[in-house]
Assembly symmetry: C2
């Protein structure tokens, strides 16, 4: 399960990608239209700002706007910023690799092998899907449907 914060962050970024370039959206507007608790959303946007994904203008008529094109913000980036590693095991993480202290040999660990297979397609989707894709409704890739049968 991804955290609620991560889901809110994705929704907020999609909302920001839809405002006219040059303008800014305010926390309270996003909170209302996306049904996100306002004070909670403030914290989330702040984290996104500190990560360099969005920029802000303070004061009256301030607000938030994307700092990068929506097509360059991937789901993986957002999830890693908010929830931390995407990998199911520390020994499979890219951004926070850690050896399992209780594991005899990482390269023969059968549990690791199984989850290595699990995480690989997940990463492919999350690294390739951007906020722009989601905003445009391009989330489903028809080429991938056949394997679902």
């Amino acid at each position: 399960m991804i955290s609620r914060q991560a889901k809110y962050a994705l929704r907020a970024l999609i909302a920001l990608s839809r405002i006219t370039p040059g303008s800014a959206a305010q926390t309270s507007d996003i909170a209302t239209t996306e049904k996100i608790p306002k004070k909670f959303l403030e914290q989330i946007l702040l984290r996104l700002k500190n990560q360099g994904m969005v920029q802000s203008r303070r004061g009256n008529r301030g607000g938030y706007a994307l700092l990068k094109p929506a097509s360059e913000i991937t789901f993986a980036q957002v999830l890693r910023t908010i929830d931390g590693p995407i990998a199911p095991l520390p020994c499979l993480s890219i951004i926070a690799y850690a050896r399992c202290e209780d594991c005899k040999d990482e390269f023969t660990c059968e549990i690791r092998k199984v989850f290595a297979r699990v995480i690989e397609p997940t990463r492919q989707v999350l690294e390739r899907t951007t906020i722009a894709d989601a905003a445009a409704g391009r989330a489903i890739d028809l080429e991938s449907l056949p394997q679902m049968a």
Copy 2:
């Protein structure tokens, strides 16, 4: 990230799958060989017992044994028992479906679409891989390697 409990549960089940049929393994033995805190392992085995995956014999010379063949215990079953839903969003869960209260329309939700694509291959691996596969080192399926390139 899966919980430590889930990883320990998988390792314990693999260990149990390796003892001679009819006999039982004791918590302390598994704890030692698998480097799992003993008292913590007791709770995990108890949960697996209440789920009907293993059976126990109490008292002196007691212990645990698998209740079902290792080839019929999937990774997905274990993860659901210990960690709960595998799905990244409540609205994509099989065992604990819940509508997102803050979601306008589930079937057009772009975030849901992306994660639907993410969870599908994950489920395929976890539902098809069994404790017996892991114990035998059959965790990697060679047919799946080409798509990793």
